[in-house]
């Protein structure tokens, strides 16, 4: 009860803290950096299209559209492929800013529409996986650190090591095989039961049921990373001077672990989470492919199969934007936990 009260007051104080000018400046800087990165990726996309073997218009038309001469001509017109390079670049960048990422000939829809339809599903999956991985990872890592050298530590370390070494798509397949095919406990396909026509709460529960396996699969891989990092970080912090001071004050060991060790050990884990965001989004491609989850990762896979380069690059751009979003979230969280942020 007291702990709940403490957590609440922490959050309350944090929101006041956040109005601190230093923190706002910090986040502001990050936003500006984000814009630069996105610009960089757009330019990268531009040059990638031109680097591919063959005519850029044909590349953009994709395998299916390249056969249609009229369509290819249209593209040439639209992107001014006979104009000087920098003009083409401006047109392209301008297009992206207005969210015009081109047209998918194969799927006969604008790329932007395809992506934004499926984006929420990916956000749901990656968000759930992120939560699972961080919460489980920190918990297990902290447990291993607190019981260092004993069997709980060895067990957790070995399990983490194994998950860290296993290819994500293989875990996914084995999970489907075990829990869906053999045991029949959980669905291993899609986001909702096909043709069930559910609404409201029942619908949400159905989605959650379908979410369990894919998010756990995606999450377990990263859980291993966070568990290892948390364990290592806590073992480092426990040797630091201020922990000795806390002991000399007669503080209860449980409190020492929670308040002194864990809170300080968490900082590098938060930083790591930001860095891992890119891997998480990449992992979504594999997970969605195996579980037929209707997100942008699956879309990317389809685009690959169909050699639909426009769509491919569009998904690439949006997934980078997602990573930036994740980074902003972790940065924001970091400013909450570390009061020294102005010195960084």
């Amino acid at each position: 009860m007291a702990r709940a009260g403490q957590t609440f007051s922490f959050l309350l104080r944090s929101s006041f803290l956040w109005c601190d000018v230093n923190k706002l400046v910090f986040i502001g800087k990050r936003l500006i950096q984000a814009v630069f990165v996105l610009l960089f990726i757009v330019v990268l996309n531009f040059f990638l299209i031109r680097a591919a073997p063959g005519d850029p218009a044909q590349v953009m038309a994709g395998e299916a559209g390249a056969g249609d001469e009229a369509y290819v001509e249209q593209l040439r017109e639209k992107f001014g492929l006979d104009r000087p390079l920098h003009e083409q670049l401006f047109r392209y960048v301008g297009g992206i800013i207005t969210l015009d990422m081109g047209y998918s000939y194969r799927q006969e829809q604008p790329v932007a529409k395809l992506i934004f339809e499926r984006l929420p599903a990916t956000l749901l999956l990656t968000g759930a996986a992120f939560l699972v991985s961080i919460l489980l990872g920190v918990l297990l890592g902290a447990l291993a650190a607190a019981r260092v050298g004993r069997w709980a530590d060895s067990l957790i370390t070995v399990v983490a090591l194994i998950f860290y070494a296993t290819p994500l798509f293989w875990i996914a397949l084995m999970a489907v095989l075990l829990f869906s095919v053999q045991l029949g406990w959980l669905p291993g396909f899609g986001m909702e039961t096909v043709g069930a026509g559910l609404h409201g709460l029942a619908h949400s529960l159905d989605i959650v049921k379908h979410l369990i396996l894919p998010s756990l699969t995606l999450g377990l891989f990263f859980m291993a990373i966070y568990a290892r990092m948390t364990r290592a970080s806590m073992l480092e912090v426990v040797d630091l001077d201020f922990v000795k001071t806390a002991k000399a004050k007669g503080v209860h060991p449980g409190r020492i672990w929670r308040v002194h060790v864990l809170r300080n050990a968490i900082l590098p884990v938060v930083t790591l989470a930001g860095i891992q965001a890119g891997q998480l989004v990449g992992g979504a491609v594999l997970t969605e492919t195996v579980f037929a989850w209707p997100g942008i990762g699956r879309l990317m896979f389809d685009a690959l199969l169909q050699r639909d380069y426009n769509l491919l690059l569009g998904v690439f751009f949006i997934s980078s934007a997602m990573v930036i979003l994740f980074n902003l979230v972790t940065d924001f969280f970091y400013t909450l936990v570390d009061p020294r942020i102005e010195l960084k």
């Binding site: 990638l48 590349v59 860290y164 290819p167 994500l168 293989w170 397949l173 990449g282 990317m300």
Partner: protein, 285 residues
Amino acid sequence: MMRYDLMIDFWRRFLRNKGAVLGLGILLIVFLLAALAPLLYSYSPWSMVQRPFLPPFDREGFLFGTDTLGRDIGAGLAFGAQISLLVGVVSTLVALAIGVILGAFAGYYGGLLDHALMRFTEFFQTIPSFALAIVLVAIFQPSTVSVIIAIGVVSWPPVARLVRGEFLSLRSREFVQASVVLGQRNTKIIVSQILPNTLSPVIVMASLMVAQAILLESSLSFLGLGDPNTMSWGYMIGAARSVIRQAWWMSFFPGMAILLTVLSLNLVGEGLNDALNPHLARKGR
């Protein structure tokens, strides 16, 4: 500068780590498998040599069964080892080449150059590496070379950060400052004072990077982006995906192969870390 007794010391510390020894053993087996593949199997892994869907442990000489087209899975494992090791090692070398050079320049010269290189590295790290690898291989058409280059290109940022960090901290270390005051030339300082002290963390990181590269390569092959002429473990899993209900072994064995290889590399990496940095001994071991 190689001292005989230093090497013995290193080995003794390394061998004390049971996990590392296990990892080294597994790695040796994988390497032998890859090297001896053409001797063990007189036929190519693409040849159809038995009836399809042969379960494992069923017939002499086909320990791991066959796949949907009757190809020997055992042969696939052996030749797949070649690709995994090849791509893993070469792409890591590519990433190291890029990362070490960028990191060294940024760390040693500092200032504006460091600032610019670090911003560039940050940009690169924000791009989801797997997605970029997919895009690169797709655009340049899948082949062993494009896969190696793609993996190398997305894997260099952590190396650059590590090397930059090491150079920065070493540059202000007193013994390096002493060399400057003595009048040693810049290149001599980098080569004889800084680099040898940077070597250990880079070696450790390299072994972990080979592990990551193998995971990346198998993921790309799983999605169909591997070299179409090479039988790789990831491809085997991808090809068997649709029949996983009936034929679990077609996905299981290649997956285990990947797991064991990557695990052993991670174990060896940690063993190297303990052996090369004895004064930073990890707790709880």
